[in-house]
């Protein structure tokens, strides 16, 4: 469980990036943090594994304040996948890359081998075992980065902008993977402003703006609230916009899911004919 109490953070440059965040992320929760660029999303999640320490307030993970533990200690339970895989890949082979963190955490060689196998399978990159990570495509590099974090099986997985710069197929694959992670009882925290991603995965949503939380709720509640959505500089999913643009036909309008919208519209057609 992650508990954030009245968290303030100011960068050495004087930028006040977080202004009083209160939040609890329970075990097994699936949370999406949304908001415009510079809202403080990355700054907030960097507090969850101790990369940043609060200027004021507290972040407590499973009863331990992040002030009292090293990043490596916290990271054992809280995996963090950075936005750009190029910021972490450095080994000669994909296998080495995935084993890197395991070595840091002091796993035994046999355990390392098993876990590397497991992670490579999980992300379907087994055939690249001996390949240099630098030779892979963007989507594949992202998966190597993901494998290198999941390999040590952290309880909590944080993903910063996982869908940026990926083609549609990669994105959908990644989305299903993330949903599945959560289904396997992992706490998943995703930072994103990809509205379609959120609409299709249906997590809890937290909206941030100017270093503060402006709204919390389930995806449908947040994404169909035009005022909130505008405040956070995102747009509702297209399907929501279409439905809310229709005249009053007595149909449900707070819809974010394409399939649900389709059945509503089909019902409407049947009634009409």
């Amino acid at each position: 469980m992650i508990e954030v109490r009245d968290l303030h953070f100011t960068y050495p440059t004087g930028v006040e990036a977080l202004r009083g965040i209160n939040l609890t992320v329970r075990d097994g929760e699936f949370l999406a943090i949304m908001g415009q660029n510079g809202a403080g999303k990355t700054t907030l999640v960097k507090h969850f594994n101790g990369l940043l320490k609060p200027t004021a307030g507290e972040v407590v993970i499973d009863g331990v304040s992040t002030r009292d533990a090293s990043v490596a200690q916290i990271a054992r339970n809280v995996g963090f996948v950075f936005q750009n895989p190029d910021h972490q890949l450095f080994c000669e082979t994909v296998e080495e890359e995935v084993a890197f963190a395991l070595r840091n955490f002091g796993f035994k060689e046999t355990a390392i081998k098993n876990r590397v196998d497991w992670a490579l399978n999980l992300l379907d990159i087994k055939r690249y075992r001996e390949t240099s990570p630098f030779m892979l495509s963007g989507g594949e590099r992202k998966r190597v980065a993901l494998a290198s974090v999941l390999a040590w099986d952290p309880k909590v997985v944080i993903l910063d902008e996982p869908t940026i710069g990926q083609d549609h197929r990669q994105k959908e694959k990644l989305r299903q993977f993330i949903v599945q992670l959560n289904a396997q009882k992992k706490t998943v925290i995703v930072v994103t402003h990809d509205v379609e991603f959120v609409a299709e995965s249906n997590p809890q949503v937290m909206l941030m703006s100017g270093g503060e939380i402006v709204a919390e709720g389930d995806a449908r509640e947040i994404l169909t609230d035009q005022k909130l959505v505008a405040q956070a500089s995102i747009v509702s999913p297209e399907i929501t916009q279409i439905l809310s643009g229709l005249p009053d036909l007595g149909i449900q309008k707070n819809v974010i899911d394409v399939h649900e919208a389709t059945s509503i519209l089909l019902d409407l057609l049947e009634v009409a004919s």
Partner: protein
């Protein structure tokens, strides 16, 4: 990375900022030469205080202090090596003798003077000014461009290094762990992505420049032209006097070390 911070230009204006980069650079070079010519502690201590008025006039104390703090690590290494190797390979007497200690401190201070003066130069000179100054010194435009681009990218690289460091720490890398060799090796996971990224970025930059017809015209002119003003001549004059003094002292006046001075 805090040492790089000390070289990051911020757009403010002061007497020092308005000085011609050529005059400032000359001054820094004279400081540099003077520091190299002196190996005794007393003049180096004196030299250390020479750039301070400029730091204060430019109002860049905070950045300057940060860069000096960043240099401390390297200063420590230089001190250690000087101390060890002078002890092992020269006839300096037994450890820990005062002259040996003084020599090591002097060498360290020499390094600090160099960092200090260049830091003041870069903190108060905009990359644009610097490029202009180079061009007007008849250095080929290609070199000027390469130089200003390099300077401009230092803060970008510093920021990237920070992100990479965070990413590797999140994978359990502990930079501070292990003996000296291990600690140096700990930096490999940071250096490789940083270098690969820098190479990739430079290739992209080259393509972007060529697609915008870089180097298409033979003769370039500039909108702004640098001209030496009164303050600049003053600084050059001071620098020349300092240089003459330094060379004169170096040639004809043996400076006693602090240990000898104190033993009187």
């Amino acid at each position: 990375m805090s040492m790089f911070e000390g070289f990051r230009f911020r757009r403010v204006s002061s007497v020092v900022h308005l000085l011609d980069p050529r005059a400032k650079f000359f001054f820094v070079c004279v400081l540099f030469i003077t520091a190299i010519l002196n190996s005794k502690l007393p003049p180096l201590i004196l030299l250390f205080f020479v750039p301070l008025p400029f730091v204060l006039m430019a109002g860049v104390q905070r950045e300057w202090i940060r860069s000096m703090r960043g240099a401390l690590f390297f200063a420590f290494i230089i001190f250690l090596f000087n101390f060890l190797f002078t002890y092992l390979y020269t006839e300096y007497p037994q450890v820990p003798s005062a002259p040996l200690l003084e020599r090591s401190i002097a060498m360290t201070l020499r390094f600090l003077v160099l960092v200090e003066s260049f830091s003041v130069f870069f903190l108060t000179t905009s990359p644009d000014h610097l490029g202009l100054a180079l061009e007007q010194s008849h250095i080929p435009y290609e070199f000027c461009f390469a130089f200003t681009t390099a300077v401009r990218f230092v803060p970008v690289l510093a920021e990237e290094a920070q992100t990479i460091m965070d990413a590797q720490k999140a994978r359990g890398l502990e930079l501070e762990r292990g003996n000296f060799l291990k600690r140096v090796r700990n930096y490999i996971p940071i250096l490789i992505p940083l270098i690969v990224g820098a190479i990739r970025r430079s290739l992209e930059l080259a393509e972007a420049m060529e697609s915008r017809a870089w180097g298409a015209s033979e003769k370039r002119t500039n909108l702004y032209v640098l001209k030496l003003k009164r303050n600049d001549y003053l600084l050059v004059l001071i620098s020349v006097l300092m240089l003459i003094l330094a060379v004169y002292v170096w040639l004809y006046i043996p400076i006693p070390s602090l240990t000898i001075l104190l033993s009187f």
